[in-house]
Symmetry: C2
DNA sequence: CTTGCATTTTACCGAACGGTCAACTAGTAT
DNA sequence: ATACTAGTTGACCGTTCGGTAAAATGCAAG
């Protein structure tokens, strides 16, 4: 059972950087198996299909984030709006370090996959949507706390949270198009200028 | 020559909706040829490679936009900031009509392709980057005009333009993840709240 | 010692991939 | 009439795709 778990783990570990740096369609199962030192038959013992693999990969990336930068950024000890700054900074430094190692800016794997597969696979789309929903909730809670603390004027926290998430994804997209993480540094802080007013009371 | 031009045109016409609704890697040349009623050998008479086809497809989409909604939106007769509203509205209505016909929100082809291929093909990335650069310039000119007219307070027009473009792409990404163009309607107008202050005078 | 189960190996499937090639057709210019 | 050229055809290349099936292996419980 230890070995088995290890095989599954190795498959996911081999798949993660590949899906991140290329695309879903462009990474083959054979390549993943070779890199993980696993036979293809073994692969299909653990994953019914390629889609199930990418589902597991998405979960791992989400966990990495949740336990890493996101946990640091949304630290209740920080003043609410500083958490948002922290998150943007984290995205910047992460992309920058990836570029230093890999030579390219890889962007956000959730955004990448969303644009590639969400018209073709509703299960994948739903999974990605759930990730974005959680992210939005973090922003929303933070905004509500900031309003309660009087740090910012009252607003529609739900919509503004969604807008901020959109902006962050858009900034990373533009940065990827320039292969330059400095775009995040340049544009990221403006996330706090986004506002959607509360409607009707 | 008329017939030849027609073949090339038919190939591009067949390719456009496919690249838009699926992805670069997921659309094969064979499928495009079948849909266009063209033999594969004929395809390679007009396009040296698949990449050259998608380059031509990108150009056509860019022309469609430039001659369509963009020309309407950035009408000098409109007050500057209303042009930005117009563009967001245009994106909304376009995505909505695509969804009505196609059943799905397809998003922005430039954003889609950027996230899919820009780590794998620098020529495609450069082409996409050029498209984004032009879009940014439109925003920038508009912002400068608005500042000159006193409609908005002075700001860093270049960076704010880039931020607005990023936001628009991000909103479309999020809308695609929900397969719901209403996201654009909901979040789009907040584009005007984005501001990056001019640095150092 | 044996049964049973999880895991692994190996060979294989049909289909699709991007791209090539030589032969052929048709129109045009000399 | 002939030569040249743009366009078209259809067969073909080797490779890779996601996925399957059966046999072999290892291990643990009865």
């Amino acid at each position: 059972m230890n070995l088995a778990t290890d095989t599954r783990t190795r498959i996911i570990a081999a798949a993660k950087p590949r899906f991140h740096s290329r695309s879903y369609a462009n990474v083959g199962i054979q390549e993943i198996c070779e890199s993980a030192g696993v036979q293809k038959g073994s692969f299909y013992h653990f994953f019914p299909s390629k889609r199930d693999l990418v589902l597991a990969v998405i979960d791992e990336f989400a966990d990495d984030w949740a336990n890493g930068f996101v946990a640091e950024a949304f630290d209740p000890a920080l003043p609410p709006m500083e958490r948002i700054d922290y998150l943007v900074d984290a995205a910047y430094f992460w992309q920058k370090s990836i570029k230093q190692v890999h030579g390219r800016m890889l962007g956000c794997i959730f955004g990448n996959l969303t644009l590639e597969v969400s018209t073709q696979d509703d299960i994948l789309r739903a999974k990605l949507l759930a990730i974005f929903s959680r992210a939005k909730s973090r922003f929303k809670d933070t905004l509500e706390e900031a309003v309660a603390a009087g740090t910012i004027a009252p607003l529609d926290a739900d919509r503004t949270a969604e807008a901020m998430l959109a902006y962050l994804e858009g900034v990373i997209l533009l940065a990827k198009s320039q292969n330059d993480p400095e775009v995040i540094y340049r544009l990221g802080p403006a996330i706090k200028t986004l506002r959607i007013e509360a409607s009707g009371g």
